[in-house]
Amino acid sequence: MAFRQLNPQTMARLALPQFLLAGLVLLSVLSLPLPYAGSVRPCLVLMAVYYWAIFRPTLVPPFLCFLAGLLMDILSGMPLGVNALVLVAVQWVVRGQRRFLMAQPYKVLWAVFGLVVVLASALTWLLFGIMQRSWAPLPPLAGTAAASFLLFPLVSWILIFVHRTLPAVDSRNY
């Protein structure tokens, strides 16, 4: 069945992951003057990219990862291309391992996400350092990575909820 033959309700359901991704991008660049939160910003967009790369890679393809990363770069004042590169790379690597990851229990997915966060942070740190010719201090990075790891269950709970509302798909096309 082609896209144009889908009814509007199915289309809207299929667009949910994209809306959620846009929401997470906004949340990561908004001003959040919360007390006690400090400057820790968990990598929310990375969680969504990781999740969909495993379960429905065609819904959040490399193009959308690139766009989300680019928007984050522009709106947060980061050097252009850093987040875009990191998100596309994460999607690529995770997608390559999706058959293995899909068969794993949730705890393994969570642990692998921890590894992904560390690798993505290292790549961001390296790219930023190359561009600025000065290296960002490491302790806050560890805090952000830890916060992202700990918040993954909460965000993935929302992602799983959205995933369940999606229409089933024939996986032969992946």
């Binding site: 069945m1 001003s31 400057s39 065609t58 952000t144 096309n173």
Partner: protein
């Protein structure tokens, strides 16, 4: 219901449905190209940046409102517990401020009469543009804030930005409707400061932490713990006399600054328009 996508032409590349590896590879190359280009010529893509930010300003501003309201609510609830303590503190502070008010009124009239007596000519007063903070990079790399005021409101690159109690940074990009403020806690921020009541000059250097460091302190000069720092006006970017913070002694003889304004939790800022310094020229961008 089972679905099958029929990806054709460009949509194959965009969705990566047919050749996922190739599509990822293409976008990685594109991102790398963009990164290299923006590294070599940081200023060349500035227009794209400011235009895009301007475009997204209404969205950010709209979404920001409920978030701010929620944040205020959380702050109000978490503040309830310490309400009585806070009240006592404020009452004591108010009593002290009343005394200061009398002193200030007296000093003001004395100052005015001395001005008249000396026939002194002072630089024109500064004007302010008040703007709401709508975005906040607040990550571990860049400390900057996005404010809802741009060139159409008279905000230009280089202007100093203050919030309630003191300096928070300066404008580094200004679009039509929005501007980006480099906070003084950012790794790249350098602000010339002066220890009030002395002639000790130093530079306030951000370090991506909550407390910026005092750099280039002159040797042999003694600094007191808790000394008040103001902007020195050197370099022409920041006008003289904006309050900055208090000096705090750190380990190994280093000095840090407890800033008056909390750059991490900004809601509104004031952008200082001091008419601009005619001696200031923008230098060539350095890669």
């Amino acid at each position: 219901m089972k679905l099958r996508y029929q990806n054709k032409g460009i949509s194959r590349v965009l969705t990566g449905g047919w050749t996922p590896g190739l599509s990822s590879f293409l976008f990685i190359i594109l991102a790398l190209g963009l990164f290299t280009f923006s590294s070599l010529r940081p200023d060349s893509l500035q227009t794209v940046r400011t235009r895009t930010t301007d475009f997204f300003a209404p969205v950010l501003s709209t979404v920001n409102r409920p978030v701010q309201i929620a944040a205020d609510y959380v702050r109000a609830v978490s503040g309830l517990a310490s309400l009585q303590q806070e009240n006592a503190r404020l009452a004591a502070e108010n009593a002290k401020l009343r005394e200061w008010y009398q002193t200030a009124v007296m000093l003001k009239s004395e100052n005015e009469s001395l001005h008249k007596l000396l026939n002194i000519s002072l630089p024109p007063d500064k004007t302010f543009v008040t703007a709401r903070v709508i975005g906040d990079s607040g990550n571990d790399y860049v400390r900057s804030a996005l404010v809802l005021a741009g060139t159409q409101d008279g905000v230009t690159k280089g202007q100093a930005v203050v919030a309630g109690d003191g300096v928070v940074g300066r404008v580094i990009e200004s679009g039509k409707k929005t501007s980006r403020v480099l906070l003084m806690t950012d790794l790249n921020s350098r602000i010339p400061v002066l220890v009030e009541g002395t002639e000790i000059n130093a530079v306030l250097g951000g370090a991506n932490s909550d407390m910026p460091e005092l750099l280039y302190l002159p040797r042999g000069k003694k600094l007191k713990d808790g000394a008040r720092l103001i902007t020195s006006g050197h370099g022409g970017m920041f006008p003289y006399g904006l309050p900055v913070g208090e000096a705090v002694k750190g380990k190994g003889g280093r000095w840090f600054v407890r800033t008056f304004a909390d750059a991490g939790h900004l809601t509104f800022v004031r952008i200082v328009n001091n008419g601009g310094d005619p001696r200031l020229h923008e230098g060539p961008s350095q890669p």
